[in-house]
Structure formats: C-alpha cells, structure tokens
C-alpha cells in the first residue's frame, strides 16, 4: 500500500470547522443571554459541558501517551484523531475562565462559613492556582506530543517516536495526579462535605471511554469524507478499539458501583448526602438510563465480535455511550446544587451541544491543517496490517 499523507479537502478543509465553531459560540452566548433569569441553572449546565469537553481531551491525551508507553502499533492509523483532540486542552482552558468568574454561583464552599475546616484547601486563590497548574501540565504534554508527531511527518525520523515513548511514564504519572485533583476540585467539591476515594477512578475511566468513543465516531466520519482514509482504517481497528472501550466500560461500572456500594453499606450521613438526591430523591429516574445505556446495552452488544466488527453497529454503540456519558456528568454534577430537582429545558442542549460544536469545530479546523494520519510513523505499516485473529 502506498504511504502518503491524507488531507481533508474542500468544505471540510477549514470552512466546516469554522462554521461549527461559530454556530457553537452563538448557541452558548445566546443561552447565556436567554438564561439571565436563572444564572445558576446556566452555570451548572455550563460546568457539565466543560467537564465533558475536558474529559474528551484528557482521555485522548491519556490514550496517546499510553499508546507510546506500551509501544503499541495498532492505533497508529487513527492516533492523529486523538492527537487533535488532546491539543484542544488550551481551548478547554478558555472554557474554564468564565467558571472562575462565576464561582459563587457554582461552588457553595466559596460562601463564608461553608467550607469550615476544609478552608485550607478549598479557598479561591489556591483553587485558581491549582487550575492554572493543571492546565499548564496538560498543555505542556499535549503540545509536546503533538509537535513531535507533526515533526515526524516532515522528517520521518524514527527516533522521535522512541523519544515520545521514553517520556510517556512521566506524563502518565503527572496525568494521574493532576486528573485526580482536578476531579476533586471541579466536581467533588460541589458537595464539599462529601468525599470518596473511588472518585478519581470514575473520572479517569469516564474520560477514557468518552475520548475513545468520540475517536471511533470521528473515525467513521472521516471514512465517509475521505476515500483514502477508508482504505486505511478498517474493521480490524474498530474491533480493537471496541475491545479497549469494553474493558474501560467494566472499569467504569466497577468504580461507580463500588463507590455507591460502600456508601450504601456504611450509611453514614456525610457520605449518603451525595447519593440521596441522586438515587432516591428527585434524580433517581436517571439511574436506569446510566445502568442500561452505559453498561448493560453496550456490554451485551459489544460482547459479540460480529457487532465489534460491524462499523455501523460499533459506531452506534459508541454514540450511545457518548450520549450517556454526558448524562452521567449531568447526574454527577447538577444534583449537588439542585438536590430538589431541576426542569431540564432548551437551555441544557443549547449549552451542551453548543460547547461541543465549538470543541469539534476547533478539532476539524486543526485536523484540516495537517495530514489526518501520522503517515511517517515507524509503526504505521504494522497498524495497517492489524489482524485481531492473531495473538
């Protein structure tokens, strides 16, 4: 097979991305103006959308680093998709700036007398410093990995991939620490009296699932618009990717269930306060959607290799999981501020879909500037000849 760069052409080269971004920006700012009477609702749904975009970028950063770390070859053909998702971290950082401005609406611990003995950690200056630190680390690693990978397209030097593999352990360690604390700061601290040591695992597994599901959906989309990419990314890659997501889905289910189980069993007031609105209170009807939509339906569908090896079916499962992941974050975040329930209206999709449109718009604009496959990666040939029946 002839190895050459693949570029997006025509409408998808840059117009599509810019168009998506503008539509998204209009949608989010329109929602902000329309929601002037209920700012708290707007900011909560904004936080959900922010966390969702963040997990997409962070999960992709993890995937790229672990791909180099394990010297994997199978994913090289679609790794550029994940690379372009992880490089959106600075954009997600921009999404975070309004949250700092709206902190009193979102985080109750900013109110005087609320955080009490947790004040040493939960105070605004330290919170902002930590956020800057997390984004600095993530931006540093994603920019470094992206630039080296782009450089390899130009020079074809195999040593660059080895260099990235060598730095991956440091990246993974820092990633684990920063994501843990970011999850505590931006989601767990919404119910500042509550705590859970399983929470970082839930954030981590949710990030990887969302990022890989989005990569699969985008892979299907790129196959549609690029005939060359269709030849390269085949059902073997879908099969392998589905297996990886399947494993992380089990990890997610384990994290979510054990976190609930331990709290339910001990039945201590400072722990159950998190679950009462979510499982028996106003939000309990969301639980079956998560349990079936995220776990049981994908679990049984993707159990079969015929589904994993069917591109349309696999993409639909990935889309389902992406949608339910969004609901999962909504269910994790919003009941902390609205324990008595909230009327979900037009505001929520216009902020959520709007921010996703901005995120994907930036993704497509960046993707159009480079080859959509890292075509001089030393392991590309191995990735193209992937065969799941050989082990």
């Amino acid at each position: 097979m002839k190895v050459a760069p693949i570029y997006l052409t025509g409408f998808f080269k840059s117009t599509f991305g810019i168009l998506l971004f503008v539509i998204g920006l209009l949608s989010v700012s329109g929602a902000y103006i329309a929601a002037a009477s209920e700012p708290r609702h707007f900011w909560m749904t904004y936080l959900v959308a922010f966390i969702f975009c963040l997990t997409l970028s962070l999960g992709s950063l993890f995937f790229v680093m672990v791909h180099y770390l394990s010297r994997a070859a199978w994913g090289v053909v679609f790794r550029r998709i994940s690379e372009n998702l992880m490089i959106l971290i600075p954009l997600v950082g921009l999404f975070f700036i309004p949250i700092i401005a709206a902190m009193p609406e979102i985080f109750f611990w900013t109110h005087p007398g609320e955080a009490m003995r947790k004040l040493l950690y939960l105070n605004t200056p330290f919170f902002v410093c930590r956020a800057v630190f997390y984004f600095a680390i993530w931006t540093g690693f994603s920019v470094y990995y992206y630039r080296v990978s782009i450089n390899q397209d130009k020079t074809g030097e195999t040593g660059l991939a080895v260099k990235l593999a060598r730095i991956a352990p440091v990246g993974i360690l820092l990633y684990a620490l920063t994501q843990t604390f970011a999850g505590i700061d931006w989601v767990m601290s919404l119910s500042h009296a509550w705590f859970s040591t399983m929470f970082p695992v839930e954030v981590f597994s949710a990030s990887v699932i969302s990022a890989l599901c989005l990569a699969m959906v985008l892979m299907t989309f790129l196959r549609k618009i690029s005939p060359m990419f269709r030849q390269w990314a085949n059902l073997e890659h879908y099969h392998a990717l589905a297996k990886l997501i399947y494993g992380f889905n089990l990890l997610w289910a384990l994290a979510v269930f054990t976190q609930y189980f331990v709290t339910w069993y001990a039945n201590l007031p400072e722990e159950t306060l998190f679950y009462i609105p979510r499982t028996v209170g106003a939000w309990h009807s969301w639980v079956p959607i998560l349990v079936f939509g995220h776990f049981f339906i994908p679990f049984f569908l993707w159990m079969s290799r015929h589904v994993k090896r069917n591109i349309i079916a696999s993409t639909l499962v990935a889309l389902l999981m992406l949608g339910v992941q969004y609901l999962h974050w909504y269910w994790m975040i919003v009941p902390s501020v609205f324990p008595e329930g909230l009327k979900v209206g037009l505001l929520d999709p216009s902020v959520g879909a709007g921010m996703m449109a901005m995120f994907l718009g930036a993704f497509f604009w960046l993707l159009g500037r480079r080859s959509i496959v890292a075509y001089r990666d030393p392991w590309l040939a191995e990735s193209l000849s992937l065969d799941n029946s050989v082990h």
Binding site: F257, Y260, F261, W264, Y265, N267, M303, S304, R305, D387, S389, V390
Partner: protein
C-alpha cells in the same frame, strides 16, 4: 467410503506450504479437512474455512445461569426462607448480593470456558488415528500436516494423494482407524 479407513495425511515443510495446500484442497471441493502444526499458524483457520467457535454461546449461557443461581441463592436464604436483618437494611437489599453474584458468574464462565473447550475438542483423547503416520511425531517440532478424512463425500485416496503431492506434500499416507 471404506469403514476401516480414517483418511489421508500429508506432511509439509513449512507453515506457508501448509496454508497453500489447505487452500488448494478446499478449492478442490473437500470439506472434511484438518491441519496439525507445532504452533498456531497465521491464516490457517481461514484457509481451512473454520467458522466461529460455539464456545462463546456456551459460556454466555452458563455464566448467566451462574449469576442467576448465585443471586437467587442469596435472595432465598437471607430474605425468603430465613429473613435476616443485617445492618438495619431491608430483607431484600439487592446491592449486597451483587459482589457474590459477579464472582460466581466469573467462576461459572471460567469453568464453562475450560470444560467447554475440552468437550468441543473431544479431550482428553488417548489415541487418534493420525498417530499411526510414520512421521507424525514431528507435529510437535517441525512438521506441518494436513488431513482429509474418509467421511468426506468426495474422498478418493488416489486423487487426493496426487493433489497433496502437487502442493508439496510428502509422506502422503492413508491411515486406518
């Protein structure tokens, strides 16, 4: 078809030859074809036209039955037959039954995989007609073998012998049961 004949077995020098011969024999219309090699050979299962294993379905059914049995055992013992208050929880608290249910499902699946694999491969088997081939001991080191058994509708020893030899087969021997 002779009731005392097992089939015909040919030896090949390399995995590539084995795959090529398997394809040729399948293309000639034979279906009861099997291969023996010291290690898994890339592409051989496709060349032999081996379909999906039934093991997955067996494991699915057995593990679901294991999960249901484990769940029911706990429900019946602690909330129906002898209702027991533990930690002030309701008699029927599904949460508490989940860990044991999952573990027993995994155990059931493991047994189904192991025993099902043995059963589908008809193992343990102490004797097999291919052992009587003069060179078959090489199947554990450097010999690659292809067999066509006599229950194939088109079985004809002379035709098969020349077909196998054309494709690089050596020591082509017809074996008795």
């Amino acid at each position: 078809m002779n009731a005392t004949i097992f089939g015909i077995l040919a030896q090949f020098d390399s995995p590539a030859q084995l795959v090529k011969a398997a394809k040729a024999v399948r293309e000639a219309g034979y279906v009861k074809v099997d291969a023996y090699s010291p290690y898994p050979v890339h592409g051989l299962d496709k060349a032999l036209g081996i379909g999906d294993s039934r093991l997955g379905w067996i494991v699915l059914i057995v593990s679901l039955a294991g999960a249901a049995g484990a769940f029911w055992l706990q429900v019946w013992t602690t909330s129906i037959d002898y209702p027991f208050t533990i930690g002030g929880k309701p008699y029927f608290s599904w949460e508490i039954f989940i860990p044991v249910t999952i573990i027993l499902m995994i155990i059931a699946a493991t047994f189904a995989i192991f025993l099902g694999m043995l059963a589908l491969n008809r193992l343990p088997m102490y004797y097999h007609p291919v052992f009587s081939h003069s060179q078959f001991h090489k199947a554990t080191s450097d010999g690659f073998f292809l067999s066509v058994t006599s229950d194939d509708a088109r079985y004809d020893a002379a035709v098969l012998k020349s077909l196998l030899e054309q494709n690089g087969g050596q020591n082509v021997e017809e074996l008795e049961k």
